[in-house]
């Protein structure tokens, strides 16, 4: 079992933190050797900077340019909706802008995102090739049963066959991005049962039903 972590996207995980720190330390060491001033450190890319406007409402493409071509967006949309399809509780992922969010994610100029970009673009190409090979069509043009046949082979990384391992790694990343993108929208929050972010006079604590559920009533 992987280490479960709570639903807290804001915490910096230890691994990425260490990675960033090593990058920063290395650049200082380099600077020292070269006798350069700190300002001479080249920037990897331009993000939103260390003092962005926090009150503004952003949408993908506002801060850095997006990547997807039309065919890539079409395949990504189909895969998003296979992972999170519409049901009686909420719409499909593409109906709330998840493909654009994934495009924003892979286009970001930060460490890690460049790796994700390669993973996602190669994965989208693979899934279309695989669809062509098996069914003579691109992924977006397959019927649900055909889409499922491919996804079933790659949706569990731990047990994926060696020939599908790389694709399973892509699928895992793509599912994380789809789910993160979806459940952070108002529709996704409602679906999952998040009912906070509203001002109240008192904090009521667990409801009687919740206490009963826990055996603490």
């Amino acid at each position: 079992m992987n280490t479960p972590e709570p639903a807290d996207s804001l915490r910096l995980d230890r691994r990425s933190a260490i990675k960033w720190m090593l990058t920063a330390t290395a650049s200082v060491a380099l600077m020292e050797r070269a006798g350069m001033a700190a300002e001479g450190t080249p920037k990897v890319g331009v993000g939103y900077g260390t003092d962005p406007d926090l009150v503004k409402i952003y949408k993908p493409g506002d801060v850095w340019a997006l990547t997807f071509t039309d065919p890539q967006r079409r395949t990504a949309t189909a895969l998003c909706d296979t992972i999170i399809p519409a049901d009686d509780k909420s719409p499909a992922a593409s109906k709330v802008g998840v493909p654009d969010f994934i495009d924003e994610w892979i286009s970001a100029p930060y460490p890690g995102h460049t790796d994700d970009k390669r993973t996602v673009l190669e994965g989208l190409a693979w899934i279309d090739e695989e669809s062509q090979k098996r069914f003579g069509n691109n992924f977006a043009d397959l019927v649900l049963k055909q889409k499922n046949a491919i996804c079933d082979d790659i949706c569990v990384f731990g047990t994926a066959k060696p020939e599908f391992k790389k694709a399973a790694g892509f699928f895992r990343k793509f599912r994380d991005l789809t789910a993160g993108g979806f459940y952070s929208t108002p529709e996704g929050m409602k679906d999952i049962g998040y009912v906070g972010n509203v001002p109240t006079v008192n904090f009521a604590g667990p409801t009687p039903e919740a206490l009963k559920h826990l055996g603490l009533a």
């Binding site: 079992m1 280490t3 479960p4 972590e5 709570p6 639903a7 996207s9 804001l10 915490r11 910096l12 260490i18 720190m21 090593l22 920063a24 200082v28 060491a29 600077m31 001033a37 700190a38 260390t50 003092d51 962005p52 926090l54 009150v55 409402i57 952003y58 506002d62 992972i83 999170i84 399809p85 969010f101 970001a108 460490p111 499922n148 996804c151 949706c155 569990v156 731990g158 699928f171 789910a179 993160g180 993108g181 459940y183 952070s184 108002p186 929050m189 049962g193 998040y194 906070g196 972010n197 509203v198 001002p199 009521a204 604590g205 919740a210 206490l211 559920h213 826990l214 055996g215 603490l216």
Partner: protein
């Protein structure tokens, strides 16, 4: 007197305060309320939480759904401006390339500093925490006792507003009646943990946090805070009325536009500015303290970050509160023929004995929390409960293999979803997609809990900072080089934390994540917890300390260090409340010495 530009400063002030966070904010507040004319210098930009706080923004309204980036290490909506463990153009260096010997230095370049984003956890040091050397022969005793600081803890709690309860547990002091606000109700997972951990002998109680769970008593508190000072009473009563009670939504780390939690910018600075005795210059990067031929401080020199001009300002007294390591840097850069090793450093101890808090974490999934009936668990942003250190007797009897304790903080609940909301699912269902994935997301949402230990580090000879011999920042100011080493007291403590968290998770019927194989692997890097203290430690002997118990440097009578630098131990209790109480006490002493004509 208000926010001013660097060209508008007065010829001379009573006191210059360098830094605007917990130490600087409290110092400026105390001094200006008593009539002293104060100039505050802040290295970062002006910052107004009332206008700049993203109170109800959801993650889908932020780039990358609000996820952490090197630009914003705590996520997009974290209030930190121009800060993090790296500040562009303002590097620091490490003496070692060994990953285990790095110190991570978090800075914020903004008015109010780190008080804008901090966790608001406000725990008093207990009586043992002031006399650690006497108890176990390690580290240093403080040149004061709990009783000396207790009146200032009382006043600080009343001023900033802290919720919590008094449980009378060992070395976990009660606050007198009238100090604490009522705690919020416990969340589902917190209640379950309290119920189950009791069988393990682990006490789960209300945490103390600087959040107004109710409006402050603006009728009665002002007279308790400022007896015989009608003007101060009037101003703080007004400031208290301008703060709203918590409305139980939006994370505290974003800052608070309704001023319901403590940040220097909403609590200390508005009434201090209202006195008419405070000037604030932002974007003022202090380089050094200036001295006269008698070795007395005359003021400071700083760089105006907007014009890049170097300026000097003068005062009768200088108070450094720039963060403990930044204050060290200023002292070491204040070299002169009379003070070739930096100012207040004849002991050679400036920069020595820097400390952070020991941190380790373990999470788990709790089946009892699955499919919990939907309700709002936002509450007061952070944890509503904690576990104070509970094994004093076993530890004192030498049964634990490490000398100092830790407390436990909780992460639980049905919090606002972001990029991590379904990240634990793969560990449960292996993967999946489609309708089943959506059903699983509903079922498991909010069923993950995580426990974080926060423990005492003992000061050691291998953890210190000094000036780097070659590297300068973009202002041309020499930077700090850090040396760091955890001792076995800390790594064993980290291993004990993870073991304990596993037991708590199991007691709740949950499945814990895999603990690290060793304490050295479990422990977070030095500085990661952002409880940087020490470096200008206080004591009773000028040869063995940098300041006396009033945070006044032994060597320069009119120079004080009112941040965490004077801490000569770092109890598991989060340092901010103690920084404020200490700064208030030192400022009272400073005022008295000025009245007597000694400064």
């Amino acid at each position: 007197m208000p926010h001013i530009s660097s060209s508008k400063t007065q010829p001379v002030y009573d006191v210059i305060v360098v830094g605007s966070g917990a130490g600087g904010g409290q110092t400026a507040y105390t001094l200006t309320m008593e009539g002293a004319k104060v100039l505050m210098l802040e290295a970062g930009r002006n910052y107004d939480p009332v206008k700049e706080t993203p109170m109800f923004q959801t993650n889908n309204q932020a780039p990358l759904r609000g996820a952490s980036t090197p630009d914003k290490p705590f996520g997009f909506y974290d209030s930190t401006v121009d800060g993090g463990w790296q500040v562009p153009g303002e590097p620091y260096t490490s003496a070692s390339s060994d990953p285990a010997r790095q110190f991570w230095w978090w800075r914020a370049r903004m008015l109010g500093g780190r008080t804008n984003h901090w966790g608001r956890i406000s725990l008093r040091n207990g009586p043992y925490d002031f006399k650690p050397y006497t108890r176990d022969g390690l580290g240093f005793d403080w040149p004061m006792s709990y009783e000396d600081l207790a009146p200032y803890y009382n006043k600080t709690e009343m001023l900033v507003g802290v919720y919590g309860t008094n449980e009378g547990l060992e070395n976990t002091p009660n606050s007198p009646a009238g100090c604490l606000l009522p705690p919020p109700k416990m969340r589902a997972g917190e209640l379950l943990a309290q119920h189950r951990a009791k069988k393990l002998g682990i006490p789960v109680m209300a945490i103390h946090r600087a959040v107004l769970s109710a409006k402050q008593d603006a009728e009665n508190l002002p007279a308790k805070l400022h007896p015989k000072n009608a003007k101060a009473q009037r101003l703080i009563a007004k400031a208290m009325r301008e703060r709203a009670a918590c409305f139980w939504a939006t994370a505290c780390g974003r800052g608070c536009s309704i001023k319901a939690n403590y940040q220097s910018t909403t609590v200390h600075l508005p009434p201090a500015l209202d006195t008419g005795n405070l000037d604030i210059v932002t974007d003022a990067m202090v380089r050094a303290v200036t001295v006269d031929e008698n070795g007395k401080a005359t003021g400071v020199s700083y760089i105006d970050r907007k014009t890049r001009e170097e300026r000097t300002v003068k005062a009768r007294v200088v108070v450094l509160a720039a963060s403990s390591a930044e204050s060290v840097r200023i002292l070491l850069n204040s070299k002169s023929p009379r003070f070739p090793n930096g100012l207040a450093n004849s002991s050679g101890l400036v920069g020595k004995y820097i400390m952070d808090t020991v941190g380790a974490r373990l999470g788990g999934q709790i089946p009892a929390l699955e499919n919990l009936p939907v309700h709002n668990e936002d509450g007061a942003g952070g944890s509503h409960v904690y576990v104070p250190w509970w094994l004093y007797k076993e530890q004192h009897a030498g049964k634990l293999g490490f000398a100092r304790g830790y407390h436990i903080e909780f992460d639980s609940g049905r919090r606002m979803p972001g990029m991590g909301s379904t990240s634990g699912l793969e560990g449960i269902n292996g993967g999946g997609y489609g309708q089943q994935f959506k059903a699983d997301a509903r079922r498991y949402y909010g069923s993950f809990m995580s426990f974080a230990g926060r423990g005492e580090m003992i000061p050691n000879d291998d953890s210190f900072c000094e000036l780097d011999p070659t590297v300068k920042d973009k202002w041309g100011i020499p930077v700090l080089r850090f040396h760091w080493k955890w001792s076995e007291h800390e790594t064993r403590q980290a291993a004990h934390m993870q073991k304990t968290f596993g037991e708590i998770i199991e007691s709740m019927g949950g499945k814990a994540g895999k603990p690290e194989a060793t304490g050295a692997a479990a422990i977070e890097p030095g500085g990661k917890i952002i409880h940087e203290v020490g470096g200008t430690i206080m004591g009773t002997d000028p040869k063995k300390s940098v300041t006396n118990q009033w945070c006044q440097t032994w060597e320069v009578k009119n120079l004080f260090v009112n941040d965490g630098g004077a801490f000569c131990s770092n109890a598991d209790k989060n340092p901010t409340l103690t920084i404020m109480a200490l700064a208030w006490r030192s400022s009272d002493y400073l005022l008295e010495e000025m009245r007597k004509g000694n400064l």
